[in-house]
Structures are given as structure tokens and as C-alpha cells.
Symmetry: C2
Subunit: 218 residues, 2 copies
């Protein structure tokens, strides 16, 4: 069976690798699993065929034979469970790596999503300029202990894991904000993630898809 | 080995079961695993002994012999993997239940956390009254497709799973907002979760802990 994922036909981030399909592509590249991509327009994402795959009408999804999964975290975990390379072999190390997966998505990402919402959906609201510093402080409340725990280590708990894959992916969303640069250890951690050949292949693939879908220059 | 979890010494929700230790207690009750609780003051949560358990200085954590885990989602998954009752036996059903676990925590909970932040941390800010309707609309964008997918079913995908446990727990935070009542199917779903004997035991245990820690009446 061939693994098929869904992705934006034309990513709203302009091919900067911030859409969540990049996280799944990265996981598939780390374990050497080939995959195909079904690109979806914004309209197609809300049609019944895709809502059957993804109840919230988002990307990515993952299909392998009769199995259809949604939620990036669940897809990355599924890939990590079926291939070597993303979870430690010992049971306790594996459980701790999964703690970091959930920490990336449920503790670190929510305040970052607040910043994204404030900067885009609420950009023109009269309160946004005054409110942004509060949102940025709530992100710092996550980054400071994360930087403290990482310390001088390369990865969060021993060798690179699916926990690092998701944490780096979540932190990458912060780069335009400048917040990452306040924590040099975290900035270096993210750079280590981006330097992995599997990340480069994932990034290049999503970028090529964006460019291929771009309307012709007029 | 005895499982030990950490919880607030005195929960800021007044014993209403909204602190995240209730989710872990519920999972342990569903599978019939006895546990002990180490109550922590707010000060103790930020001390080195607890930061070694939980990098972000929060509750709950989970200890079983040499294994120390943090993040509610990871703890619930760990419990579900080691005991029958929270994940389907077939591999595809299991993977789909895990999709719902991540959906609860990474798709449905973030806008709900925004509402909690707006109502508490930003309560006295001049923009909050005008901003709250936007936050509530973003929650509806999650609740409407969730209600559509659930339909008339009892649970999200076949029998009750760890995905339902987390989704019900996340939705419970919405009860004071009135938003849940806009989706009768979801309100009934939450009520089904609350009616489970294991949930009642978990709720009663956290409530008893709160009452035992309450300062004596003056």
C-alpha cells in the first residue's frame, strides 16, 4: 500500500514550510517511507469527501489502505510506531518521547496559535497593538522553562525523536516574531532540526508543491 | 509498583473537576488501576524537585517505578496502552482513537484555552468585552463540525475510548460559557461521559481532596 497524505494545493504560508503537512512529510522522510500527496483547494477541504477523512476539514490526513487518520500528532505517532527512527526502543524512553510530543502540541503550541490569531485574524482590531505584548509574554512563559530543560543538549531527551520533530516544528512558527532569538539555546535547537537531511527533503517537497501550484506570472 | 500522580494541593477551580489531574484520575479509574496522589502547592510546583518531573512546572505528572511522565495526553495514552478499556483492540481502531485524543488537545482545546485566558488573565482589560464574541466564534468553528461528526452516536468512533475521555474533559471546560448548550448533541455527549461510574469516582476524589485542603471556616 502507498501512503497518501493531503496538503494545501497552495499553502497560505507561501511555501515557508509552516503548514502542518510539513511535519508529516518530515516524519515520513526520517523513517524513509515513500508517500504520495493529494493537494486540496480550500473549497475541497470543506467538501464531504474530505470531511469524511478529517472531521474539521483541515490538512494533513494520512491514508494507508483502509486506515484513514487525521491530526498531525496522531499521524506522526502512527508513523513512529511503525518504523524505526522516531522513538527510542526502550519502553520508558518511548513514553517520555511521547510526553514531548504532547508538550509540543498542547503546552507550547497553544500560546503560539494565539499569537498567529492576533497577528492575522485580529490584525485590524483596535486592541491588537496593546494586547500583543501580553500574548508574547505568555509564549515566553513556555520558552523559558523549555530552554532551561534543554540546556546544552542537542535534543530534549537523548537522541532525536518524534518529540523533537514536533517541538522544532512548533517553534519554527515563532521565527518571524523574533521571540526565538531571545533564547539562543532554542534557536540553535531549531536550527539543528532544520539541518537534518530529512527536514530539508520535506521542506523542499512542500516548497516545490507551492511553486508548481502558483499561478503563472502575468 | 504504585502509580503516583501529582495534583493541586488546592485546585484553583474550587473542586469542580476542571484541573487536568481529573483526566488522569478518570483514565486510571476506567482501567481499574489504583493510584496515590502527591498534592503540590503552587510554590512547590515551581521548585526543582517538581521541575525535574515536569519541565513546565505543572500538574499532573505520573510516576511508576523509574518512569516519570508529564503531559496529560501522554499519561492517558500510557495508561491506555498498558491496560484494557481505553483503546480498541484492532490496530486501525486504536490509531483512530489516538487521532481523537490529539484532536481534543490540539484542535478543540486551544480556542477554549483562549476563552479561559480572556475571561481570567485579561478580564479587566478594556478590549475583553468586545473581543469575547470573536473568541466564542472560534470555539463554535470547532464545535459545529464536531457535533456534525458525532451525530446521534454515543461516542466518537464506536465504543468509549481515551479519545472520548479527553474530548469530554475538554468540552467540560465550556459549560460555564453556555456554548455547549448551543449543540445539544455535544451537551448530551458530555453528560454521557460524566455519567460513567469511573468519571464519578474521579470527580469525587478530586473534590474530596479540595475539601480536605480547604482552610477551616472562620
Amino acid at each position: 500500500m502507498t501512503v497518501t497524505i493531503t496538503a494545501f494545493e497552495r499553502s497560505p504560508d507561501g511555501g515557508r514550510g509552516l503548514a502542518r503537512d510539513t511535519r508529516v512529510r518530515w516524519a515520513l522522510e526520517e523513517v524513509g517511507c515513500p508517500y504520495e500527496v493529494r493537494p486540496l483547494s480550500f473549497g475541497a477541504m470543506k467538501e464531504p469527501a474530505h470531511l469524511a477523512r478529517h472531521p474539521f476539514g483541515q490538512i494533513p490526513t494520512y491514508e494507508d489502505g483502509e486506515l484513514v487518520l487525521f491530526e498531525t500528532g496522531a499521524i506522526v505517532l502512527h508513523i513512529a510506531e511503525r518504523h524505526a527512527g522516531l522513538l527510542p526502543a526502550d519502553a520508558n524512553g518511548r513514553a517520555r518521547a511521547i510526553s514531548w510530543m504532547f508538550a509540543a502540541l498542547n503546552t507550547v503550541e497553544p500560546p503560539i496559535l494565539e499569537l498567529v490569531t492576533a497577528r492575522f485574524q485580529e490584525r485590524d482590531r483596535p486592541w491588537t497593538e496593546e494586547r500583543l505584548p501580553l500574548v508574547r509574554d505568555r509564549i515566553r512563559e513556555r520558552l523559558a522553562p523549555l530552554a532551561a530543560r534543554l540546556g546544552a543538549a542537542d535534543w530534549l531527551d537523548g537522541t532525536f525523536s518524534a518529540g523533537d520533530l514536533l517541538m522544532v516544528s512548533v517553534l519554527l512558527r515563532l521565527r518571524p516574531s523574533g521571540l526565538l532569538d531571545e533564547y539562543p539555546g532554542l534557536a540553535a535547537y531549531v536550527a539543528r532540526g532544520e539541518a537534518r537531511p530529512a527536514y530539508r527533503r520535506a521542506f523542499d517537497a512542500q516548497r516545490a508543491a507551492f511553486l508548481a501550484a502558483a499561478p503563472p506570472a502575468t
